[in-house]
């Protein structure tokens, strides 16, 4: 069984995003970039499934600039077998990413796609669902537990107020939520080994997929800042202030 794991290179989650002065976007010059945290969870899950013997091959794929090779090397160091970079300098929207992934899947024919539920830059939470729609595959989103058998997968999903269990026929798209697992740190020997694993590069334009954006970004602004209020001395003062503010 073969699994495809799409991964995205994004601003490191510990870095605070800053809006450019001309409101054209986020300033990413000289900012630390890393693998999107939810993509890390997806890679970890695929590798653990391989270690359990349910999966035989893990293929990581990234769509992005030349530097996304670093993100793919991270996936390889975590345990993916090989990697594919679909190279583009365009900032693709989820629909275009899903179309590119569908084209990769037409060639690779995986039995399963495991990917992060959302990227922490665009916060769209859409690509996995869109990919499942384009392929007409079932989807198991926001997974916190995954059990793979030969023809289906049992997915425990995080829903509002609890957990839902679904059984989806394979092939299917699974998107990872926070509690699915805790990703490993790649060891130095594995980082060294990853350098020798195969990484193919293709131009996104060569896939014959519609990459045109559907949304025009008019501006990116900083949200209104909250200002710090007052410090109170005692719990009693706190209640008095809340009463004055009309809360009680």
């Amino acid at each position: 069984m073969k699994v495809l794991v799409p991964v995205k290179r994004v601003i490191d989650y510990n870095v605070k995003a800053r809006v450019k002065a001309d409101q054209s976007g986020i300033d990413l010059a000289n900012v630390k970039m890393s693998m999107n945290p939810f993509c890390e969870i997806a890679v970890e899950e695929a590798v653990r499934q391989k270690e359990k013997g349910t999966i035989t091959e893990v293929v990581a794929v990234s769509i992005g600039p030349a530097q996304a090779q670093e993100t793919l090397r991270t996936a390889l160091a975590m345990g993916a077998d090989r990697a594919i970079l679909i190279q583009t300098d365009l900032d693709l929207e989820p629909l275009a990413v899903a179309k590119v992934l569908a084209a990769v899947i037409a060639e690779e024919a995986p039995n399963l796609v495991i990917m992060g539920k959302q990227a922490i830059d665009g916060d769209n939470n859409a690509t996995g669902q869109m990919l499942a729609a384009l392929l007409d595959w079932p989807q198991g989103t926001f997974a916190s537990e995954l059990e793979i058998s030969s023809t289906s997968a049992k997915v425990i999903r995080e829903v509002d107020g609890g957990l839902q269990t679904l059984e989806v026929a394979l092939p299917a798209v699974i998107t990872a939520d926070l509690r699915l697992n805790e990703p490993r740190y790649a060891s130095l020997p594995n980082i060294m080994k990853a350098k020798k694993k195969p990484l193919d590069i293709k131009e996104a334009a060569s896939l014959g997929v519609d990459l045109a954006p559907r949304l025009k970004v008019l501006k990116v602004a900083e949200p209104a800042k909250r200002t710090a209020g007052i410090k109170v001395e005692t719990a009693g003062d706190l209640v008095t202030n809340l009463k004055t503010a009309g809360v009680f």
């Binding site: 800053r18 922490i120 005692t234 719990a235």
Partner: protein
Amino acid sequence: MAVLVFADHDNASLKDGTHKTVTAALALSPDVDILVAGQGAKAVADAAAKITGVRKVLLAESDSLGQGLAEAVTALVVPLMSGYDALLTPATSQGKNFSPRIAAKLDVAQISEIVEVVSASTFVRPIYAGNALETVESADSKKIITVRPTAFKAAAEGGSASVETIDAGAGAGKTHFVDQKLVKSARPELTGAKIVVSGGRAMGSAEEFQRVIEPLADKLGAAVGASRAAVDAGYAPNDYQVGQTGKVVAPELYIAVGISGAIQHLAGMKDSKIIVAINKDGDAPIFQVADFGLVADYKSAVPDLMTALNAAGV
């Protein structure tokens, strides 16, 4: 132009997110219909018909719609969209699950979690965990949108729209529902609560979290929340999580106990009307957004607060 709003409900009762999404929809067009997809959900449809400004309510019922399966909802909604220019869905876990699937089937973008309607084709949405607000203009013929309910006021009730039963669509296909375990709680739901009491990693254990946070929440009739750090440490269940990767709340009063105020957490609660922070570290970032800060150890501060609330007759 006509807009379809997907109703948020649990088959028994209509949820407030629907009213808020109707407000966003009415900013696009006066022609707003509501779709209630569920099972045994006639009472929900009747409640939706009372929302002011709604033209009519469509009711579609089947088992897989009642279970909220994305494949079934997509099969129902995609053909309906020939009669609508926009679909607005509350950004709940269910809405986030099926809405992008519908968008891709229609070959259009999804505009995720809007917080403002600028015009019928231009919207504002948070990106980078709410550290930036992006204004986007859509060139697509149909707009598929999820709405962050906390950003809109609830539409009033007082209307009397008609309810029309429609065919349930083709079903869920290759996805089968196994079961669902929902936490039963007498407390209000986190995203709709007027008061939220949240605990952080400072609690140190699940027992301590329950001992400290829950009585205060119950005293105030509040929902319970938690920081990601507390959830990661196993002190609180995942669906308590307030923040970028959890729930976004905007209650009248938010009380953060033992929460330092990581960017990730602030993204989920900074739109609350009044924020109270209790933390023994006076330099914690949470105090930069708090209206009222109490620099004290929660171990003494929370019991003191309970006493003060009792004394004040709250």
